[in-house]
Point group: C2
Chain length 450, copies 2
């Protein structure tokens, strides 16, 4: 009998692994279980669906079940939920929701692409029908439907992280009055406060009512009520409080959960259980700067990890060395990006460091369309090792973070960074690219410091 | 008496060194000799001046003589030309053109920012008044004046490199009929032919008559005549044949000229002569991939090298490790970038290598404004070391070259590159950034190869 790979989860983590395993092994019997009705989609695209930049829910689907079946010979079973895993016997207990039956499915290899679930604090009113999550494409479709159904109204977004702010922009585009409620002193908590403040200011310029430092106490059918006593009118509420890895199934099966709360994997994406692999939002990653385990739910990691898992499942050899915490977003005309450790994370990881922060332009100052950009760099005291970077600016700002991310992978110091041969032409950069100006300032601080 | 720094050349190489030396040493007596009338300008901006993106010649001046005098206490002497250097006695022979006098000026330290001079092949007609160079800002001002004076006419650009193509676009913007004549099989010779072909095609789409593989034989008052027998109507001719380092003064003084034909410098930008430094377009650089000396005339290198020279002159310590050959340009909507070695250069440097080439989009495929991008990567056989990259695409394509440039500095291999944590969000990239897709293909070739 052919060796069987069972995949739990039809999104990136599972399907990218399955298709990669297929590439390497034509003979593998691959069964994929998806409890929902869609496969391989871009959840990151949901805000743009709501905002109207993307027209149809289906545009966000990278591979349909039919494509997976026909092009990759993956036996995709929709509305099939894995209820339990028996790692001793190599079996999954499966619930077929459409036919109301439960059966056991044997595996030789098991791929966990379980994803993550949105944080839902136990608030009064959180289960009201006008309160929406934005985790799955089904969530996105429901939110779009609600947005289209309701007249232009009042929208409250709880949480000022990436998704929260993107959703806020989307509703501004729809002509809604939007309030973002964030518990921290500034939005975008993965940035330092000084950089987050620039994002809060940008959101306000774009017409969003940003309320930082206040927590939601209660949701009613018409309002969101905060601990500051604010009563914010809202006929639609969106939860953008981030996600937690979906690990119950794995934990119950005895698969090790790591210090980050996500499934522990080795560098080949193998879990603690024989023949069981994991990738994507359910698994943890090694952070190459802090040298700690972290849980970062992001489609690009899911795809990379899944490809590594699929290669190994297929009999090849591949490793996922880890992440440096890069993230970017665009909110109206403001671009935001970060990588590595921010100040709090760096302190927490035991680093002492210098902070450089510079302002420049995205193109030569005299070239049309030169936009402001602020770059912040953290450099370890004495060694000068770059620890992290943050960028807030306008068009052309964010993607520059990739230079800092690559420097983090290479463990460069800021002195080395000052010599980087980055591209220069007036439409793309000043003679000193803003990243180099920041590196120069950081190198100066390191050399003066002791 | 105060120690005296004499600087020859009032553009980037000289002035960035002078201002940096001033920062470190308030007591230094700094005299700068400039044979023209302008200082510290962006020659790279000339095409945009001609094209109308930049309004005034003065917009391209970063620091005027007055600013240099008042803010940096540099004794800038315009229309003063260095005629000879006596390295034994530490003196420069100076010609003051305005007063018709010659004098000797002693130095303790001498900074050479001599720049480069445009290639002017000994063609019949090359000295006709309608034949223009684009090297200095005075050239740029003259070209702009000629462009404004003549009615919309026929323009011939000799040379299809960066400047040639940028000038061609500029005249297309002015409504002229533009022909580019390039001796190589494709424009943009620093790219491989397959990538250059994409640029030629883009130029043609933008209405430029591109004639590759033919050489100019003669220029008349009305035409440019090629060895293919073409007679190209031209009431304005622009030379875009690149530059050669301006080294006569240094060579005559006995300063070593390197294998690239430019002034040889050590890692601190010091020349072979005691107390004599050089930076910018007159000096050579170490290429960090080929490990050879190269001459690359580019404003960003000039500024970096000059800053290093100025730091050392000022008593500090700084080094310029070298370049990786990064360059970028934008022609109409087409963005072009390259870094490291192209195929010919890699072969010439003794490398055997694999070639990956992929097509992708600049943003998530479903996101508005996703534009095509082609990425080519060269990876050393067996080691997988990345040797170079080339990008041709539309908006958002070119700056991605910086990731490859940074990877070259770090001597990464393409397998390592596949794991780079580059920023992902639908407005900025697909889940697999095009650079990662190219790295993935290259890594596959390396692992399959032997």
């Amino acid at each position: 009998m052919a060796e069987r790979l069972v995949v739990i989860g039809g999104d990136a983590g599972g399907m990218a692994a399955a298709t990669q395993a297929r590439r390497l092994r034509a003979d593998l019997d691959i069964v994929a279980l998806e409890r929902g009705t869609r496969t391989s989609y871009s959840a990151c695209g949901i805000p743009f669906l709501v905002g109207g930049e993307v027209n149809r829910v289906d545009d966000l689907v990278a591979r349909t079940p039919q494509q997976l079946r026909e092009q990759h010979r993956i036996d995709v079973r929709l509305r099939h939920e894995a209820m339990a895993i028996d790692v001793e016997r190599g079996e999954v207990e499966v619930r077929d929701h459409d036919h109301g039956r439960t059966f056991r499915l044997g595996y030789d290899q098991l791929m966990l692409g379980l994803g993550a679930v949105p944080r839902r604090p136990p608030l009064d009113g959180i289960d009201l029908p006008h309160v929406h999550g934005v985790q799955t494409l089904d969530d996105g479709a429901a939110l779009l439907e609600a947005a289209e159904r309701s007249q232009t109204g009042d929208v409250a977004v709880i949480g000022g992280g990436y998704i929260g702010l993107e959703i806020a922009e989307a509703f501004v585009r729809r002509g809604c009055k939007v309030t973002v409620i964030e518990g921290s002193p500034q939005v975008m908590r993965t940035l330092d406060e000084d950089m987050g403040e620039m994002v809060s200011a940008a959101m306000r310029r774009h017409g969003v009512d940003v309320r930082c430092g206040s927590k939601v106490e209660k949701i009613t059918e018409t309002h969101v009520i905060t601990d500051a006593g604010d009563e914010i009118a809202a006929d639609l509420v969106v939860l953008g409080l981030g996600v937690v890895p979906n690990v119950d199934l794995a934990r119950d099966a005895g698969v090790d959960i790591g210090p980050s709360g996500a499934i522990a994997v080795d560098r080949r994406q193998h879990t603690s259980a024989e023949g069981v692999w994991a990738a994507g939002d359910c698994s943890e990653s090694h952070h190459l700067v802090s040298d700690r385990k972290v849980h970062i739910a992001l489609g690009t990691h899911a795809n990379k990890q899944a490809r590594v898992a699929g290669t190994n499942i297929g009999g090849g050899y591949a490793t996922f060395p880890g992440v440096v915490g890069t993230a970017a977003t665009k909110i109206c005309s403001t671009e935001v990006a970060r990588t590595g450790l921010n100040e709090e994370e760096a302190r927490d990881a035991g680093f002492d460091f210098h902070v450089a922060r510079i302002e420049s332009t995205t193109r030569a100052g005299y070239y049309p369309g030169a936009r402001p950009i602020t770059v912040k760099l953290l450099a370890e005291r004495r060694s000068g090792r770059v620890l992290g970077g943050q960028i807030v600016g306008e068009e052309g700002a964010a993607k520059r973070i990739d230079v800092i991310a690559t420097a983090l992978h290479a463990r460069m110091d800021v002195e080395q960074m000052t010599a980087l041969d980055l591209s220069y032409a007036p439409p793309f950069a000043p003679t000193w690219d803003p990243v180099l100006v920041a590196a120069r300032q950081a190198a100066g601080l390191v050399s003066k410091g002791s």
